[in-house]
């Protein structure tokens, strides 16, 4: 990406961080890549975690293919203070690597995932969760890498409920028209003692499936990984491919993407509002929010030709041009519906009482778990990749980041409403810059053979969506890593539910997080 504001690593803190980390630092635009030997991984992680504004955005592994070693462990850090990303690469030989979650708890879910997919596990030897594979998944089960050597029951955390509590099973087939997900609600009969999730029911092996695809083919699956986050995830993926191929999308295409992204944010927040009303039994409020939602979806259809904005993002730009006339004609009315519903809701005490002090997350917890998006912002954590890691057109149209302090459901709701208003403003301004379709023309192959790796990001309606790809010489994907925001925020859901809540709060909390299972079990 060529949109480098000067001065990444200009900050004093960062430069000595890098010198501390060691020799070979590669830089690609705003992304720094550091080679860290496995032996040095633990101190390096401590050093980075201590750095101001550093946030463990993702952890993933890849192997050279055909289950060969060494497996390469990559940690992606968002240096939100320094407007950049930092990737550490460590080759892991053997079965064990230094336990990351001891230092950065946010890494835990990925440690579990990496164990399932590549058979290597943290040295701490603490029990791991089952993430993507069903209980009966044997070594023959398809994986990104080698199957674990140890039998899973030696490694996975057993679920025993002891004493004066029992497990209330909920799912995977839950209410009507919601995704399949299993909750184990451990309850003492009144209050909620503990909660754990099984999401493997929906694991479709998308990353496994993307290997060997061309980026264009892959994009089709990426959009359908999380339908309610199609634009955000597709943008992140496309950006990663563009970084790998050194493509530069034309500005009007980026503007079109941005409009699609903000439209996606709008309808998601409307949908979340409707879900909140449903979970609090406010039927008419739900109807009002759903009217807004339906009208916003029709705006999408009118502007980009698809209710969920599939097919807008293309590798190297945008495949659809927004119908600006339709946008200016329909959006104000549709957003007006949402605004009216929201104003009415914010004056309904019976509604607000259910939201206040429900599902509280502290800023400390949000930081510890490296949460993103409205969930993090509702705890007072002002992180937003549109502002922290701007790509065009956000460079010249910076959003102002909505932040609340309370960290409860109400705070999340307020954040969403503020963001919705902000999105409408951005759409208006970006709409003036003449957005349109257009794909970057690849540089001539002789000069730059297709291949290499790249990191891409976008602020989806649920928060930072990350993608990382490695392309081989033929321009086919050897490893693609998708990290939608849902992956991060579901683990915050556990904590929020445990904080002094009763059964009936859980639907409310789930609605306020407005996550998808599809996003996390991809």
């Amino acid at each position: 990406m060529t949109t480098v504001q000067p001065s990444l690593a200009g900050e004093p803190g960062l430069s000595e961080l890098l010198t501390g980390l060691g020799r070979d630092v590669a830089r690609d635009g705003r992304v720094l890549t550091v080679q860290v030997p496995t032996a040095g991984l633990e101190p390096a992680v401590r050093r980075i975690a201590a750095h101001r504004g550093a946030r463990l955005a993702d952890v993933f592994a890849s192997d050279p293919g055909e289950d060969r070693t060494p497996v390469t462990l990559r940690l992606v850090w968002g240096l939100d203070g320094d407007r950049g990303y930092l990737i550490t690469e460590s080759p892991v030989d053997g079965e064990r690597y230094p336990s990351l979650s001891e230092i950065a708890p946010a890494a835990f879910a990925e440690e579990c995932e990496i164990y399932e997919q590549f058979g290597i596990r943290p040295a701490s030897g603490r029990p791991l969760n089952r993430v993507a594979l069903p209980p009966w998944a044997g070594p023959e089960w398809p994986r990104l890498g080698r199957a674990p050597a140890e039998p899973p029951e030696d490694v996975h955390a057993p679920h025993h409920v002891g004493g004066h509590a029992f497990e209330f099973p909920f799912g995977p087939v839950r209410q009507v028209a919601v995704e399949s997900l299993y909750y184990g609600l451990v309850t003492s009969g009144e209050e909620l003692v503990d909660l754990y999730l099984f999401t493997w029911h929906k694991h479709r092996g998308v990353e496994w499936r993307l290997r060997g695809c061309t980026p264009a083919e892959a994009l089709f699956f990426v959009e359908r990984t999380e339908g309610l986050g199609a634009v955000g995830n597709a943008w992140a993926f496309a950006a990663a491919v563009e970084a790998a191929l050194g493509l530069e999308p034309p500005p009007q295409a980026m503007a079109a993407r941005a409009i699609a992204l903000e439209l996606e944010r709008l309808y998601n927040h409307a949908a979340a509002t409707a879900a909140l009303c449903q979970s609090t039994g406010l039927v008419i409020g739900q109807a009002a929010a759903e009217i807004a939602l339906e009208r916003l979806l029709r705006v999408n259809a009118a502007v980009f030709g698809h209710r969920f904005l599939f097919g807008v993002v293309g590798i190297g730009g945008s495949r659809r041009a927004p119908d600006l006339a339709a946008l200016r004609r329909d959006l104000p009315g549709a957003y007006g519906e949402l605004r009216r519903a929201a104003d009415a809701l914010l004056t309904t005490n019976s509604f607000l009482d259910r939201l206040e002090a429900t599902g509280v997350l502290t800023e400390e917890a949000a930081r510890r778990l490296a949460l993103v998006g409205p969930v993090a912002r509702a705890t007072g954590l002002a992180i937003d990749t549109r502002a922290d890691h701007p790509v065009p057109p956000y460079g010249e149209f910076p959003p102002d980041v909505a932040v609340q302090q309370a960290g409860d459901v109400l705070a999340r709701f307020r954040v969403m409403l503020t963001e919705a208003a902000e999105s409408v403003r951005l759409i208006g301004e970006i709409g003036e810059t003449g957005p349109g379709a257009g794909l970057a023309v690849p540089a001539d192959d002789a000069a730059a053979p297709p291949g290499g790796t790249g990191l891409g990001w976008a602020e989806s309606s649920r928060g930072e969506s990350l993608a990382w790809v490695a392309l081989d010489g033929a321009g086919r994907i050897t490893r693609a890593r998708l990290r939608p925001a849902a992956v991060r925020n579901w683990r915050g859901f556990d904590d929020a539910c445990r904080s002094q809540n009763v059964f009936t709060d859980i639907p409310i909390i789930e609605a306020s997080f407005w996550l998808t299972v599809a996003g996390t079990s991809r």
């Binding site: 406010l282 259809a301 030709g305 309904t348």
Partner: protein, 112 residues
């Protein structure tokens, strides 16, 4: 709550009259393509088959086999050959047998 009832009443009726009357918003929906047999040649058909990401298209001899069920109306084929494919505008696609969704479009085009 009575206040909300009032709000609801004030909002008025938005419900569609479908199926009794046609629904205007239907024209906004993405719909599967319909093909122009006259311009479809074998290699054009093969190009279309190649761009289709959901394997909805296949060529069987001198016919383009179109699986409406598999089509996601992504519009790639229309982008590839606007002269040969255009939105059908059909959204009422429910079928009582999978076979009803498999269409054979004869390739009537003369190779250029």
């Amino acid at each position: 709550m009575p206040l909300w009832t009032l709000r609801g009443l004030r909002r008025g009726v938005v419900t569609t009259r479908y199926p009794a009357r046609p629904e205007p918003s239907a024209r906004l929906l993405p719909t599967p393509p319909a093909f122009q047999p006259d311009v479809l040649t074998r290699d054009l058909a093969d190009r279309l088959v190649a761009v289709c990401p959901s394997d909805a298209l296949a060529r069987d001899g001198d016919a383009l086999v179109f699986d409406v069920g598999a089509c996601t109306a992504c519009g790639r084929c229309q982008a590839e050959a606007p002269e040969a494919a255009a939105s059908s505008g059909e959204f009422e696609l429910a079928a009582t047998a999978r076979a009803h969704l498999i269409k054979r479009i004869p390739l009537g085009g003369r190779p250029a």
